[in-house]
């Protein structure tokens, strides 16, 4: 249990950075090498590599060991676990707000009618 929780914590921490989110968005369109990923950013290769290491450690991406250019691959399962939590939480508040809206209408109608 704790191991799973810790990985989810690490996932959220990894997602908190805009460069890493942009890297994930790029990988959502397909595997890419470090050079390809570095292209849109004004950043050195070691700088990008540091971000990739964070993403790899929490399991958001994986890299093949054998290929010469070690393309990065998005691990969607890990991403989905975080997305699910956010979606559940967002829905709870959206539905709560919907009900509050209706309740406010009810009590103001009776109050002033």
């Amino acid at each position: 249990m704790t191991v799973v929780d810790d990985r989810l914590d690490a996932t959220f921490a990894a997602l908190a950075d805009p460069t890493r989110r942009a890297i994930l968005a790029h990988l959502a369109t397909g595997d890419a090498t470090v050079n390809e990923l570095a292209e849109p950013f004004d950043m050195t290769l070691p700088g990008i590599s540091k971000h990739l290491k964070v993403l790899e450690q929490c399991g958001l991406i994986s890299r093949t060991r054998r290929a010469q250019f070690r393309p990065c691959h998005l691990e969607r399962e890990r991403l989905d676990a975080a997305a699910d939590w956010i979606e559940t939480n967002r829905r709870i508040w959206a539905q709560r707000f919907d009900k509050l809206e209706a309740h406010l209408r009810d009590i103001q109608d009776t109050g002033h009618g």
Partner: protein, 142 residues
């Protein structure tokens, strides 16, 4: 640490919206999301710093109940309510802004979000896609 923010504008005066978020007689009407109810006798509100805020949500489908325990850390009528959930460490701040006329904006801000993975009611998972993820990604800030 990740944070989330939800905002909604209501057509009601600020004092009334504020009371709805703090009084069990109002909370019982809306606190449980769709498919659940929150009976009045399952709501505990002790509206002062250190006071208890506890809700029991009951699923319409199977009768399962979900208890959320929180402690108020700040109550500033009619502007702000802050509570923390000791079980998860999540801090929720509700801010009420008078937009003039009878319109009120409610802003829910949640901090320490990653820790709340530990709360059992949040363990329920839906199948999701990357598209859906992208839509909510911008709600995450460092």
């Amino acid at each position: 640490m990740a944070e989330l923010t939800y905002t909604r504008v209501f057509d009601a005066p600020r004092e009334l919206v504020f009371r709805c978020m703090l009084e069990p007689e109002h909370l019982t009407h809306f606190w449980g999301p769709a498919g659940t109810s929150t009976p009045l006798d399952g709501i505990t509100v002790d509206p002062r710093p250190g006071g208890v805020f506890e809700t029991v949500m009951i699923s319409d489908a199977d009768g399962c109940s979900y208890t959320t325990r929180a402690v108020y850390t700040e109550i500033v009528p009619p502007e702000r309510i802050v509570w923390t959930e000791p079980g998860t460490g999540m801090i929720t701040t509700s801010t009420f802004t008078d937009l003039g006329g009878t319109r009120t904006e409610v802003r829910i801000h949640q901090a320490n979000v990653s820790d709340s993975f530990r709360s059992p009611e949040n363990q329920a998972r839906f199948l999701t896609s990357l598209d859906r993820f992208a839509a909510y990604l911008e709600t995450l800030v460092s």
